[in-house]
């Protein structure tokens, strides 16, 4: 190999930004000091790539169609996820906050980018931006408007700043007009942004 390493080329190695260079240097040092192995890094990348908002959509659709599951999702989010074959492993606890006609929830991490990655995968880039992190706490309604969502009149907005050892996911309200839909169809309505709370799931009309 031209650059003298004897491990497979990764995405970070191909990138040329200063940040990517720093990541490569950190990675090389950690491997050299025996903190992690190249194989562990590759395994972790593969694991993160296998996680996606589709997992969250399945949890939500099941909660909409099964009251017992919804109760268990509130009691212990990670344990409920395992019922659907989604194993979040040793990741932080998952707390689910449920939207109601009275309260609409939105999630942010002002300190960094805490997110239920072990279930939903990597957060979107905007979630990690300084702009979202600073504005979501002080003007959540303005932020939601930019995502095209205005909470119904009289609905309170609750912001959850995930500052510590708990990760949050929003359980949105089931959209109107979905009474005849089965769990698989409902899953298709749940968007990543609705799991963060900056918007709500699609409606059947909007989807077709």
């Amino acid at each position: 190999m031209s650059h003298g390493h004897d491990h497979p080329e990764t995405a970070t190695e191909r990138a040329t930004s200063p940040l990517a260079a720093r990541v490569r240097a950190m990675e090389a040092l950690l491997v050299e000091k025996g903190v992690v192995t190249e194989a562990e890094i590759q395994d972790n990348i593969a694991y993160m790539d296998s996680r996606s908002p589709a997992n969250g959509a399945r949890l939500v659709a099941r909660a909409w169609t099964d009251d017992g599951f919804r109760a268990r999702l509130h009691t212990d989010g990670k344990a409920a996820a395992v019922e659907l074959g989604i194993d979040a492993g040793a990741s932080p606890d998952l707390v689910v906050v449920e939207n109601t006609p009275e309260v609409h929830n939105v999630i942010v991490c002002t300190l960094c980018s805490c997110y239920p990655r072990a279930i939903l995968g990597r957060p979107p880039d905007w979630y990690k931006s300084f702009e979202y992190r600073s504005r979501a706490v002080r003007e959540p309604r303005a932020v939601m408007r930019e995502f095209g969502f205005v909470p119904p009149e009289g609905t309170r907005v609750a912001v959850h700043d995930s500052t510590a050892d708990v990760r949050y996911m929003v359980l949105p309200m089931r959209p109107p007009g979905t009474e005849g839909m089965d769990e698989a169809e409902l899953t298709g309505l749940v968007t990543r942004d609705s799991l963060i709370g900056v918007s709500v799931p699609r409606t059947p009309a909007a989807q077709s």
Binding site: V137, E139, P140, R156, D161
Partner: protein
């Protein structure tokens, strides 16, 4: 370890800075709030960040703050709240009535 605070208790986030890795955001320092839930016990991230054990574990609380008390000119309903997860050693009694 007994929880010092219970849901509904008025609390105030301790003011002041502590060097190093801290999970209490500056915008809540000195602010009054109310305990929403006791989330559980976790190893102290302020020590874990430096390779220490993080023990003894610390109690973590979900604390609610009135948005209109945090931000001048806040746009929203008067009883809207922001919730943040705050470790017990960052909380003191008092605060929001």
């Amino acid at each position: 370890m007994t929880a010092r605070f219970a849901p509904g208790d008025p609390v105030r986030v301790r003011p002041g800075a502590k060097p190093g890795h801290v999970r209490t955001p500056d915008y809540l320092k000195g602010k009054p709030g109310r305990v929403e839930t006791v989330l559980g016990r976790y190893r102290n991230p302020e020590d874990l960040a430096y390779g220490l054990s993080g023990e003894p574990e610390r109690l973590l609380y979900k604390v609610g703050f009135r948005q209109d008390a945090l931000w001048p000119g806040y746009e929203g309903l008067s009883d809207e709240r922001l919730y943040a997860d705050v470790y017990e050693h960052w909380l003191e009694p008092g605060g929001e009535a």
